[in-house]
C-alpha cells in the first residue's frame, strides 16, 4: 500500500492501490503534502484502465469541501474502482489553483471536476484545460464563462440569500431592525448571497438594516463584531442575517452573553454546517443546507457520462432524492441545480443523522 503524491508534473505512474485506506488515512497523507493533492484511486484488479478524474477545489480547510470529498468518496463508481479521483487543494488561492491546472494537464487526467477559488480567475486555467481536450464538469461554484463546461451541478447562491433573509424576516413578521454579516468581500458566494438578501430586503419596507459589515466568514470575527453592534444598538437589533453559518454561530455566542432570547430574535445562516444543525436543534438559529453530497456525486456521474458515453447510467441515488426538482434527464443538460434544503425543527434530526453516518 503506498500513496502516490502528485508533487511533480512528470508523466503519471500507474495509480496505486488505496482502496484499503480509510478516509482518515487518505486525508492525513494528502494534507501532509500541503495542497498538492492526493490519489484515492486504484487500478482495477483485472488491469483495466480506470477513469482518472482530477478535482481542483477551493480549499480543504472549509467544512463544506470536506463534506463534498466525503460525498465523492462514497460514490458507487469510486467504490467499485470504475473511476478514481484526485483532490487538488486550492488553499483558497487562485494562483495555487492555476498552478495545479498545469499539473492536471501534463498528467493527462481524463476529466476535471472544477470548484474554482475565484469565478473570474478560474477562467484562464479552465481554458487551457479545454484546449488540452480534457472535458470539464463544474460543481458548487459557477465559473464566469460557462461555455468551458460540459455541464454544471451546483446550487444557486442567490436563492440561498433569499432563503436566509426570508427565514429571519418572516419570523419577525416583516417588521423590525436587522444586521447583516457579510462574507469575504468580492468572493462570488458573498456577492450572490448579498444579491438574494437585498432582493428580499427591497420587498420588505418595514425592515430596517441597522448595520452591514463583513466578518470575513469567521466565527471569531463575527462574535466581536456582534458584541460591538449590541453595544452601539443595544436591544434595538431584532434579527441577524448572516452570509454563512460560521458567522451566525459567532453572533449567537455574542447574543447568548447578553441573555438574548432566540425565540424573539431570529438568527439565520447558510450552509448547514454540523454545528449549525445542532444550533437549529437548540432553537438558536435557522439555516439552509447546501447538499454537498448531491453536488459531489452528481458531478462524478456527469463526468463518467462524458467519458463512457450515452450507455452510462447514473450510479448515485441522489437523482431520486429530489423528485420533481432534480432529475438525470440522460445527463444531457448543461446545468443541474440541486435544491437548497431549509433546515427546520422537523427535519433537523434526520439531517444530523445523515451527517453523522457519513
Amino acid at each position: 500500500m503506498r500513496l502516490e503524491v502528485l508533487a511533480t508534473t512528470r508523466s503519471p505512474k500507474p495509480a496505486v492501490t488505496s482502496s484499503l485506506l480509510t478516509r482518515r488515512q487518505i486525508l492525513k497523507a494528502g494534507l501532509a503534502v500541503t495542497g498538492l493533492g492526493f490519489v484515492t484511486g486504484c487500478r482495477n484488479k483485472s488491469g483495466k484502465s480506470v477513469h482518472r478524474i482530477a478535482v481542483p477545489l477551493q480549499g480543504m480547510t472549509a467544512e463544506f469541501m470536506q463534506l463534498w470529498v466525503r460525498g465523492a468518496q462514497a460514490h458507487p463508481a469510486i467504490k467499485n474502482g470504475l473511476a478514481t479521483f484526485t483532490v487538488f487543494d486550492g488553499r483558497m488561492d487562485a494562483l495555487t489553483q492555476a498552478n495545479q491546472f498545469d499539473t492536471i494537464i501534463t498528467q493527462r487526467y481524463d476529466a476535471i471536476i472544477f470548484i474554482p477559488v475565484d469565478v473570474q480567475a478560474g477562467v484562464g486555467p479552465a481554458t487551457q484545460a479545454k484546449a488540452a481536450g480534457i472535458p470539464m464538469i463544474g460543481s458548487n461554484t459557477l465559473l464566469a464563462d460557462r461555455s468551458l463546461y460540459v455541464s454544471y451541478i451546483g446550487s444557486e447562491s442567490v436563492i440561498s440569500g433569499e432563503y436566509v433573509a426570508h427565514g429571519v424576516i418572516d419570523r419577525l413578521g416583516g417588521k423590525g431592525n436587522v444586521v447583516v454579516l457579510e462574507g469575504l468581500i468580492g468572493q462570488s458566494a458573498q456577492v450572490e448571497r448579498r444579491q438574494g438578501i437585498n432582493k428580499v430586503l427591497a420587498q420588505s419596507p418595514n425592515i430596517k438594516v441597522l448595520e452591514t459589515k463583513s466578518a470575513n466568514w469567521s466565527r471569531a470575527e463575527a462574535q466581536s463584531l456582534m458584541e460591538n453592534w449590541l453595544t452601539s444598538h443595544g436591544n434595538t437589533i431584532n434579527g441577524v442575517i448572516s452570509h454563512n453559518d460560521e458567522m451566525a454561530l459567532g453572533a449567537i455566542e455574542a447574543m447568548k452573553a447578553r441573555g438574548i432570547d432566540f425565540a424573539t430574535h431570529p438568527v439565520g445562516g447558510i450552509d448547514g454546517l454540523t454545528d449549525a444543525l445542532e444550533a437549529v436543534k437548540r432553537g438558536e438559529m435557522s439555516t439552509t443546507l447546501q447538499d454537498a453530497n448531491a453536488q459531489a456525486q452528481g458531478s462524478i456521474d456527469l463526468a463518467l457520462k462524458v467519458l463512457i458515453g450515452p450507455s452510462y447510467k447514473p450510479m448515485s441515488d441522489i437523482w431520486n432524492q429530489y423528485p420533481g426538482q432534480l432529475s438525470w434527464d440522460d445527463g444531457k443538460k448543461t446545468e443541474y441545480l440541486v435544491p437548497w434544503t431549509p433546515v427546520t425543527g422537523e427535519n433537523v434530526d434526520r439531517l444530523l443523522a445523515i451527517r453523522r453516518a457519513g
Binding site: 480547510t61 472549509a62 467544512e63 470536506q66 471569531a220 463584531l225 453595544t231
Partner: protein, 331 residues
C-alpha cells in the same frame, strides 16, 4: 552613502535641538495617541464609555494581548515569530479534542496538554534559531506552514465543538466580575512586565537583543536565552489558543490565520524596536489597546473596516518613524 550618513547626522542634530519635548513625544507619543483615540471615541459615540463596552474591548483584545506579550520577548531579542497563529490553532484543537465526547477529560488536563504542545512547538523553533543559528524569520515561516498542516491532519479539517462547560469557562466565565480571558491577559502582562523589568532573566533578554556579542562576553548564555523566548512564545500561543477556543466555543482549523501580524503590529506600535533591546510590556499593552479600540470604535461608529486597515498600517509606520528618531537621538 555619505549623504545618508550626513542626513542621519542632521536628523540627530535636529531632534537634539527639539530637546526634551521631542524626547517626551518619542517616548510617550503612543500613550498620547491612545488618549486621543479614547477622547475621540467618547465624543463620537454615546456607547463607548460604558462598562459593558469597555469590558467587550478588553475581552476582544485579550487573545492578541497574550500573543503580543510573548512577541515582545521575542522581538526584544531581535527575533520574530511568524508561527504563532498556527500554534494557536493546533493547541486550541488539541485542547478541544480532550474535552468533547461522552467522557470528556478534565479541562485542566486539556489545558495543560495544549500548553505542553505549545511549548514543544516553540522549543522546536528555538532549537533551530538558537543552536542551528538559522534566521528566526525563516524557521518560524516554516513552522507557520508545518504547524498549520499538523492542525489540519489532527482535526481532519473539521471543527471540534460541543466542548465541556468547564473548558468553556476559560473563554466565557468571569472571575470577580471580570471575564476570565481578560484576567489571563492581565496576569500574563503583569507577570511579563515584572520579569522583564525586575529580574536577572529580564535584563539578560534585553542584553541579548541590545548587543549579542557583548552579552556573550559578559557570560550570558545567549543561546539559552534565545531558546527560552521561543518556548515562552509557544506557551503563550497555546494559552491564547485555548482561550480563543473557549471563547468561540469551538476549535476551528482555520483559527488564528494572520494573528502574528496583529501581535507584531501591537509590539511595534508600542515602540519596541525590531532590532531588539529596546521596548517593554507596558507600551505593548498600549499598542494592543490601540488596535482593539480602533476595531471597536469603527464598529460602533459604523465605519467600514477598510479604513481600519489603512489606519492600522499608518500607525505601524508612524511608530517605526518615532523609533528611528529615538535611535538618531541616542546616536
Amino acid at each position: 552613502m555619505s549623504t545618508s550618513t550626513k542626513q542621519m547626522g542632521r536628523a540627530g542634530a535636529r531632534s537634539r535641538t527639539l530637546g526634551s519635548l521631542g524626547q517626551l513625544f518619542a517616548r510617550y507619543g503612543i500613550v498620547i495617541a491612545l488618549g486621543l483615540i479614547v477622547l475621540a471615541l467618547s465624543v463620537l459615540s454615546d456607547n463607548f464609555l460604558t462598562s459593558g463596552n469597555l469590558t467587550n474591548v478588553l475581552r476582544q483584545v485579550s487573545i492578541n494581548g497574550i500573543l503580543a506579550v510573548g512577541m515582545t520577548f521575542v522581538i526584544l531579542t531581535g527575533g520574530i515569530d511568524l508561527s504563532i497563529g498556527s500554534v494557536l490553532a493546533l493547541t486550541g484543537m488539541v485542547g478541544a479534542s480532550l474535552v468533547v465526547g461522552s467522557k470528556p477529560h478534565s479541562p485542566i488536563l486539556a489545558i495543560l496538554a495544549a500548553l505542553a504542545v505549545g511549548v514543544v512547538a516553540g522549543a522546536c523553533s528555538g532549537i533551530f534559531i538558537a543552536w542551528v543559528r538559522l534566521p528566526a524569520f525563516v524557521v518560524t515561516l516554516g513552522m507557520l506552514s508545518a504547524v498549520r498542516g499538523l492542525t489540519l491532519i489532527y482535526s481532519q479539517g473539521m471543527p471540534i465543538s460541543n466542548l465541556s462547560s468547564g473548558f468553556k469557562f476559560l473563554g466565557q466565565g468571569t472571575f470577580l466580575g471580570i471575564p476570565v480571558s481578560v484576567v489571563l491577559f492581565g496576569a500574563t502582562a503583569l507577570a511579563a512586565w515584572v520579569v522583564l523589568a525586575y529580574t536577572v532573566y529580564g535584563r539578560r533578554v534585553y542584553a541579548v537583543g541590545g548587543n549579542m556579542r557583548s552579552a556573550h562576553t559578559c557570560g550570558i548564555n545567549v543561546r539559552g536565552i534565545i531558546f527560552s523566548v521561543y518556548a515562552l512564545m509557544g506557551l503563550l500561543s497555546a494559552l491564547a489558543g485555548v482561550t480563543l477556543t473557549a471563547r468561540t466555543t469551538a476549535a476551528l482549523p482555520q483559527a488564528g490565520v494572520a494573528y502574528e501580524l496583529d501581535a507584531i503590529a501591537a509590539v511595534v506600535i508600542g515602540g519596541t524596536s525590531l532590532t531588539g533591546g529596546i521596548g517593554g510590556i507596558p507600551l505593548t499593552v498600549v499598542g494592543v489597546l490601540i488596535i482593539g479600540l480602533l476595531n471597536n470604535g469603527l464598529d460602533l461608529l459604523g465605519i467600514s473596516s477598510y479604513y481600519q486597515q489603512v489606519i492600522k498600517g499608518l500607525m505601524i509606520v508612524a511608530a517605526v518613524l518615532i523609533d528611528k528618531a529615538r535611535h538618531a537621538d541616542a546616536a
